[in-house]
């Protein structure tokens, strides 16, 4: 608490001007299981991208690139919804 901004340093009304700064958050500690992408099986259908509540699938050019493990909370909806079993899970240590 002592390292947090003092009242005079804050914006009026608690307005947040730094848009989307939740991106800096690491929520990996929430995770019990991590999804692992299996490139050989993947058909880049982007269903995993669409059903992720946490923006944890990084895509580019309409293709799966990688999981953002700082954002993934390990819900494994992606694994459950993958039509070609291209995602498996691993228990976090």
């Amino acid at each position: 608490m002592q390292n947090l901004k003092k009242w005079k340093e804050l914006e009026d009304a608690g307005n947040i001007l730094d848009k989307g700064n939740n991106e800096e958050n690491d929520v990996s500690g929430w995770r019990s299981f991590r999804p692992i992408h299996i490139r050989e099986k993947c058909i880049d259908c982007m269903i995993c991208w669409s059903v992720c509540p946490d923006n944890a699938v990084i895509s580019g050019d309409g293709k799966f690139i990688k999981f953002d493990y700082t954002k993934c909370k390990g819900c494994l909806i992606c694994l459950n919804e993958c039509p070609v079993n291209a995602i498996r899970s691993e228990k976090e240590k």
């Binding site: 939740n22 800096e24 669409s50 509540p53 946490d54 923006n55 309409g62």
Partner: protein
């Protein structure tokens, strides 16, 4: 529109929020903003979504976002949209901006119903979205008017005398349609592109629009977090949550069914069995299950009739 194209659009809702793992709201809000793809101002009622995405000093929103209180997102966005209209008329603003109001079923069907109705009647150019997770999940799973019949909540408990909620869901879609606004729809994240298409339609229409979206809740409904989409699929395939649109032009309603499982229509018990909130109905209390099934069947037939199927 397909998923590849959608995924190439810039994200305006970031991860790193504190929604529960597997929360339907994260999926839906991402879909809505990807679908709109132009400057947008989001209003949000006090809700899981609000407290989880805008905890000071951090925000998941890359677009403008305003939270005011629980019951007044519709009135708040009425003010934002009106200010925009005046500035536009006075040539003080160049950009075209869309307006979206998110509220849960509590914030829209219950405490916020008056504000919602007022905004629809006045005709503000805002897309209203109900993230219907069927209870006051944010405060610990209390019953709302959108809680389905028979469901356990912390205020409709299971005992000798009472077994869950004893009333059916409020039909918020019909209430919205009664305002004769140009566009009303019901959608589910399990039918993702249908949801995206409905959002695109809604924001392309001039005037108020409303989409009622089923928002699966892991702790409130008590299912495995990986099954958020799957549980919605059961809701849609059992016709507990039919997908349809209502267009109103010159006072004439045009109802359109977007999905008909036909002979694959599932018994509602498949939907109930996935969720701990209906545990007391899995093997016992068949009379309650029958009542739920009869209600679904009646409403489904009525809907098909309206949609001329």
């Amino acid at each position: 529109m397909n998923l590849k194209e959608l995924s190439n659009r810039k994200a305006r809702f970031t991860g790193g929020h504190t929604l529960c793992p597997g929360c339907g709201e994260g999926i839906i809000v991402r879909a809505v903003l990807q679908a709109i793809n132009q400057q947008v101002v989001v209003g949000c009622a006090t809700s899981c979504l609000e407290v989880s995405t805008s905890k000071f000093p951090q925000t998941s929103w890359k677009c403008s976002f305003i939270h005011n209180a629980f019951e007044n997102v519709s009135a708040t966005m009425s003010g934002v949209e009106t200010a925009y209209r005046v500035l536009k008329r006075k040539n003080k603003i160049k950009d075209d901006i869309k307006f979206v109001a998110f509220a849960g079923d509590g914030g829209l069907c219950d405490i916020g119903l008056q504000s919602f109705s007022g905004a629809l009647e006045r005709g503000h150019n805002v897309l209203f979205i109900c993230l219907d997770n069927e209870a006051y999940q944010n405060t610990g799973i209390q019953r709302s008017s959108a809680t389905p019949y028979g469901a356990w909540t912390s205020t409709t408990q299971i005992g000798e005398k009472h077994k869950g909620k004893e009333q059916f869901k409020k039909d918020i879609v019909k209430i919205a349609v009664a305002h004769e606004i140009p566009y009303v729809a019901q959608a589910s994240p399990s039918n993702y592109l249908d949801l995206v298409k409905k959002v695109s339609t809604a924001v392309s229409i001039n005037g108020p629009s409303f989409i009622n979206i089923l928002s699966p809740c892991v702790p409130g409904w008590r299912y495995l977090q990986m099954e958020s989409i799957h549980v919605c699929r059961r809701a849609v395939d059992s016709c507990f949550w039919p997908l349809y649109e209502v267009f109103v032009e010159n006072g004439v309603e045009k109802w359109k069914l977007n999905y008909d499982p036909k002979d694959k229509k599932e018994p509602v018990i498949n939907f109930l069995r996935m969720q701990g909130r209906f545990k007391h109905l899995w093997n016992d209390n068949k009379d309650i299950v029958d009542k739920i099934q009869a209600n679904i069947d009646r409403k489904w037939e009525e809907l098909k009739k309206r949609c001329s199927v």
